[in-house]
């Protein structure tokens, strides 16, 4: 098994999908000749031609909106938003159209599409390139929201998302595109949506995270271990569907939990996690659940972003607070 970076895993999966299924079409800004600004689609246009890997005008709403029409024609579009923060320019198409087209048409027009979107902080990008907006899309019934944390999962979850008959927002941690590197099987495989991954077992507390925050959680768990605590990490992999059973079991096993994400705190996905934990595992709790998230302020300029994106230290503080409660 070869090691791959997350970006390599995504690129190879897109190539596999284009090769396997003629209905698959990749579209977005700079995805063709340039191979994507992060090189996620590098070489694909050369291999599959301009009609299947399509450079689009700089217009997010029509990138997503034309994908709705492509799906109505029987194709499987994979539109790319260059950054999730620019998804707001297409939000009306995602929320008002993609997510509810199957419902509106009572199944006449299913929306098998995967909207790929990089996001995430601490890479010194200009404004709106880093925002973690996933909660807005979780609150959009009809969409699925998938957030891989490893290269292996990026490949398996993307392959599954492309096969899934429902529309999927596939969020890729741009900080991890090259930093996240792990063993990825060569062959075609899928990872089911809605099955969380136990990254690390722990008996004192579990950190629940997804995407690049899983890396932060692992480091915090490691540091906590040095302080004598046994801290586990649960990677949700997808927010919709949510693996409620894994969440319940992980919390029930140790009675303490910290939820962690890069998006801002209030009505962030952590709020949903805490609510679900109290519904499912209230009587097992031995301490209030810790919530570590970005502040309720806009994503800041680069010189202060490390103070904004949840750090290992902040997660450790939350772990200690929960363990000492």
């Amino acid at each position: 098994m070869a090691e791959m970076t997350m970006i390599e895993a995504i690129r190879s999966t897109l190539g596999d999908a284009l090769a396997r299924d003629e209905r698959v079409i990749v579209l977005g800004q700079d995805v063709g000749v340039n191979g994507g600004v992060f090189r996620a689609t590098e070489g694909l246009q050369e291999r599959f031609g301009e009609d299947r890997v399509v450079d689009m005008p700089l217009a997010e709403a029509v990138i997503v909106g034309s994908a709705v029409g492509l799906a109505c024609s029987g194709m499987i579009p994979i539109p790319e938003l260059q950054f999730l923060g620019f998804g707001s320019q297409a939000f009306h198409q995602m929320e008002g159209q993609v997510a509810r087209y199957s419902f509106r048409s009572q199944g006449s027009y299913p929306m098998p599409m995967v909207i790929r979107a990089p996001f995430g902080g601490n890479v010194r990008t200009p404004e709106l390139h880093s925002d973690a907006h996933e909660a807005k899309y979780v609150n959009t019934p009809g969409l699925k929201v998938v957030m891989p944390a490893t290269a292996r999962d990026a490949k398996g979850l993307l392959a599954e998302a492309i096969r899934d008959p429902d529309p999927v927002l596939f969020c890729e941690p741009l900080r991890g595109y090259r930093l996240i590197k792990d063993e990825v099987p060569e062959e075609d495989y899928t990872v089911p949506l809605g099955k969380a991954r136990t990254v690390r077992e722990g008996t004192d507390l579990v950190i629940v995270a997804y995407s690049a925050a899983v890396v932060v959680a692992e480091r915090a768990a490691e540091r906590a271990a040095q302080e004598g605590y046994s801290v586990g990490v649960l990677d949700l992999r997808s927010l919709v569907p949510l693996d409620v059973e894994a969440l319940r079991d992980a919390v029930a096993a140790c009675g303490r939990a910290v939820v962690l994400h890069e998006g801002s705190l209030s009505a962030g996905f952590g709020a949903e996690l805490v609510a679900t934990i109290q519904e499912e595992a209230f009587w097992t709790l031995q301490a209030p659940i810790g919530r570590v998230a970005a502040y309720d302020t806009p994503y800041p300029p680069g010189t202060v972003e490390e103070l904004y994106v949840p750090s290992v230290d902040r997660v450790l503080d939350a772990i200690r607070a929960a363990l000492e409660a």
Binding site: P57, G65, G69, L70, G107, L242
Partner: protein, 357 residues
Amino acid sequence: MSAASTVEIPEPLRLLAPDGTLAEGHVPALDGDALLDAWRAMLRSRVCDERCFSLQRQGRLGTFSPVNGEEAAVVGSAWALDPARDWIVPQYRELPAMLRLGYRLAQAMQYYTGNPAGSQMDADVNVLPFQISLAAQLPHAVGLAWGLRHQGSDAVVCTYFGDGASSEGDAHEALNLAGVRRAPVVFVLKNNGWAISTPVRKQTAATSFAARAAGYGMAGELVDGNDLFAMHDACSRAVARARTGEGPTLIEARTYRMGPHNTSDDPTRYVDPVELEERRALDPVERVRRYLTAEGLIDEASEQRLVEELQAEVDAAFAEAQASPSPGSEALFDHVYARPPGRLAGQRATAAAEEAG
């Protein structure tokens, strides 16, 4: 013309005068049974408008937007299509076009009475559902046309929007992409003068929407939208261009909304009655009536019989919609996902239990 305008705006294409006479030398391509079908569709639309208004006032129908005044624009364009292969991507004021492609009147009545089945298309009916988010359908039309062509079809997609929706960003993005991809789309912009209460002069400083076509690298045509033959003629050319790979066309159908925006709207608050009377004199249905009467194809008695037949058709459709089973709580969940997240199973059960009382 406003001083700011730098584009010379031609007069709208007109082939049938308000008095029902043809432009000199014009031989309509829409003739014979197709013409009588189109006439029937225009009258059906008017009968349907009246019936739906009455039903809404009785509390038996939900919100309804009449076609009243735009019959020639909708029917003329739809009759330029080949129902066997072409597509309609509607907004919500184009029911006669949807019916032409096989959407059923009873489904429309289901839609207007809040039954989700009203937007489920029968197999081989090339129609997308009503669109309430204005201009959002235009990117869909472009993607649909692009996808069909990509798969080797020579189908054409006809989509509709209005002067109000033309201000939306989606209209710009869709027209631009259609030009870039030479997508086989006919964009019918029905300039009916109003976006609810906002007159077209507050929608744009330009004197022509058709002139925008040049800015998107596509053909554009300004047409008398109350002229069935002009609409059919311009749209037929647009369909032929699209089918042969010459790309999209933007057609501005200059028409007039003779009724309210919808059943909740009171246009007496903002429409000048003098203007309304002037525009009523250009009524598209009356124009075709005069032509067909002069041609000896219809008379008062035959029209009376036709209207009665259409009233019965509309009443039967409404009765069929009323008779269709009223959906239960499963309708909240069905078709939201093909593979629903596990959480929805519990929510579905909760809703069913609540429904059962």
